[in-house]
Amino acid sequence: MNCIEVDGLSLWYGDFQALRNVSVRIRERQITALIGPSGCGKSTLLRTFNRISQRDASVRVEGSIRILGEEIFSPEVSLIALRRAVGMVFQRPNPLPISIFENVAFGLRIHEPDAAVEAAVEEALTAVGLWEDLRFRLHSPATELALEQQQRLCIARLLPLKPEIILLDEPCSALDAKATLAIEELLGRLAAEYSIVIVTHSMAQARRVSAECFFMLLGEVVEHGPTEQLFTNPRDARTGDYIAGRFG
């Protein structure tokens, strides 16, 4: 099953075209990586999936994105409901300046003011492997955590909303090698339950974590395939040059 289907998507920032007629199919319950050199449009593409990119008045979009079969550019779509189902994790961990507990509870509280949050918070923190470490200091500020813990927390706070898709925009670029491996291991476990799309600068990381891989260049998708095949036997010469480190 595909969880995201993109057809003929073009996107402009003012006069600059950042995406050119992009069509992709992203499968559910596995990790899909978007790779490519800086400025290739991979983050831009990721940010269209929950329409966070459209806050800027200068952004113009053409084409179609269906998430779980539903067209997200249709005027009837509620961004609130869409973002509840499609959560995002950013490059720099950005915990809210409130307690650890409140960070995880925040999403539930804003959508369902009467929801019971305690159990959901425990479940989410357990899922990301933070519960044992933090259960006795849930009410200290989230911003005091180590970077890796902050990034785990940023993933954890999506979970109480039961999202379908988790988008990650270079989630490890602020972390050291050990923390990166730990987060990758976490993503691997989460992929059993969630569809995960990760943008990464690191080809090694894409190769370690993803089942399928998209290579983008200058706003276009150049090649797409199972990760192992794309890395060992690229069909397009540009893909080969990029993964061989000849540019980018």
Binding site: N50, I52, R55, D56, A57, L79, I80, A81, L82, R83, R84, G87, M88, F90, R92, N94, P95, L96, P97, I98, F106, G107, I110, H111, P141, A142, T143, E144, C154, R157, L158, L161
Partner: protein, 306 residues
Amino acid sequence: MKPALAPSPTTPRFRETPAIARRHRQEVIARRLLGTTLILSLVPLFAILIYLVWQAAPVLSWGFLVESPRDGMRSGGLWPALLGTLYLVGASLAAATPVGVLAAVYLNEYARPGRFSRLVSLAVINLAGVPSIVHALFGLGAFVAFAGFGRSILAASLTLAVMSLPVIIASTTEALKSVPQSFREASWNLGATRWQTTRHIVLPNALPGIFTGIILMVSRTAGETAPVLFTGAVFYKSIAGGDLFAYSLLDQCMALSVHLFTVSTQVPNVSDALPYAIAVVLVATVLGVNALSIALRVYLRSRKNW
């Protein structure tokens, strides 16, 4: 025998040359010049304070604060003026704060960045530069005459409110801008509406800055003379000394700034110390409010998590 790794120094290289010496001299001059200007700007500040208190000393007392003026304002206290200023500042804040803060929230959190919001920001900045005497005239026309409030505390404080609005909007905007964009993104991405984001994330974190801006505005408002002179302040008003509720909103009132002006220039045979004493009370009120602002800021900062 092995050759030496480096030639032994025949002439020392790490010595001050004439060119380096010149740069040292420039450095000394710069340091002294900059230090002197700092002292020059501090001297008047302390000189004013010390001179004021010294001149005012014969008159200053608790009674001076809480009594009404006597003998055609030549003796007694300044309670009606002190209370009038408190009323004017309080009422103008009550009017200007909600409007100014919420307007700034709209500008910063809701309005799409573009030509319109840039134009509004520019207008706000320029409004802050309109001389207070012009606001005074506007208040006289709009509130005293057109709205029919007459010369009153209400008309005067609304005039002061109009005057403070741009400053409050500008300082609130600064405070909102200081909240990192990543907090907003995190909140939006969880499906929070803009209002939820503003209320739960942005406003709590902008609060110290917003308070500071408002309270600094108080100290400016307290000293304004022209607007209140045009729209509601009187030469003399008899109220009971120490009575906190002596004025109603539609009364005229005395104000410290106007009182200082009239006692200094309009009343013959006033003791030399009296105007200085009024000035000391005015300055002390303003400094007191500023100290409150600093204390509040320190307190709220200490609770901040980023």
